[in-house]
């Protein structure tokens, strides 16, 4: 079983790296780019087992404890 976790910055948190990428794209001629925010994707291989609710709740825990810093980031989990 596989899961994909997206971790993104919450609104209002500055993303200087994203801003630099946006500036880069604009200077390359993609003037329509108004904002870029950089996040992270985790592809996670899981041993099969347990009902989906349990798998999801354990993934939720992993995100809150380690994969995301809840002060600045939020996350979304997809089961693949």
């Amino acid at each position: 079983m596989r899961a994909r976790v997206f971790v993104t910055l919450k609104q209002g948190v500055h993303d200087p790296a994203g801003k630099a990428v946006q500036g880069g794209l604009v200077s390359m001629g993609y003037e329509e780019v108004q904002a870029v925010r950089i996040g992270k994707v985790f592809d996670i291989e899981l041993a099969d087992g347990g009902p989906e609710a349990v798998v999801r709740s354990r993934l939720d825990e992993m995100c809150k404890k380690l994969l995301a810093n809840m002060v600045i980031e939020s996350f979304r989990v997809e089961l693949l």
């Binding site: 948190v13 500055h14 200087p16 790296a17 630099a20 380690l66 810093n69 002060v71 600045i72």
Partner: protein, 238 residues
């Protein structure tokens, strides 16, 4: 109190710490006994304070300090801090303290996206802590060396931290990383846990380029002079 009883200060080492030796040197300069503690230890030796050094624990993978926070010793540090004992995190040590929630906020990438290594001007303020006794209002010049020192908290937390006097160090003049409200260092609500980005341990001797870091270690020596471990040792011997 017997003169032979020196205060003992644990200096943690994580894989990737690189300021731990400097920190032990600074501790010893001010008459305290540094005790090196490897992050895999699950108990703290008998000490009066715990210091977390700068460096790049776990290569800064995922987020700075995010993995070190789960080192076995950290559960013990959280308990130690919960008893009101002094804990200080410098640079990467500060990042680890924010990741465990011992001090508020988070340290983001520097606004200019560059590692910055230079001297900065600071003002000491806020509540009295074991690391800033007698330093209230002092202007210090200390070196910073980091890529992720851009302290941030949401508006509500920020207002509370400012209101409770938990901003302990603030950049004056130039802000090297874009930290909100020019915040360079904060404490927990109780004041016994402090984190800061600048490196006081690098400026404790004129030969190193400055002595403005001395006050932090002098303060700690005074704060733990007659406390915890010393008292416990005396009781045990009585």
């Amino acid at each position: 109190m017997s003169a032979a009883l020196r205060s003992r200060v644990a200096v943690l080492t994580f894989p990737g710490s690189n300021c731990d030796a400097d920190l032990r040197h600074a501790v010893a300069l001010f008459g305290m006994e540094p005790v090196a503690v490897w992050h895999k230890e699950s108990t703290l030796p008998n000490v009066d304070a715990v210091l977390l050094p700068g460096g790049f624990s776990y290569g800064d993978y995922l987020r700075c300090g995010a993995i070190a926070r789960f080192s076995p010793i950290m559960a013990e540090v959280v308990r130690f801090a919960g008893r009101g004992a002094p804990v200080l995190g410098i640079c990467n040590g500060f990042q680890i303290l924010t990741e465990c929630g011992l001090v508020p906020g988070v340290l983001l990438r520097n606004k200019a996206l560059r590692f910055t290594c230079r001297d900065v001007n600071l003002r000491v303020q806020g509540q009295t802590t074991p690391f800033t006794r007698g330093l209230g209002g002092a202007a210090l010049r200390l070196p910073v060396a980091h890529a992720e020192g851009n302290w941030f908290a949401d508006a509500e937390s920020l207002a509370r931290i400012e209101g409770e006097g938990q901003v302990i160090f603030r950049y004056e003049g130039e802000n090297p990383n874009g930290a909100i409200h020019d915040i360079a260092g904060v404490s927990n609500a109780a004041g016994n846990v402090v984190g800061l980005m600048p490196h006081p341990e690098r400026y404790v001797e004129a030969a190193l380029g400055g002595t403005d870091g001395c006050g932090v270690f002098r303060s700690l020596a005074a704060a733990i002079g007659g406390s915890a471990h010393t008292a416990a040792t005396l009781e045990a011997g009585a």
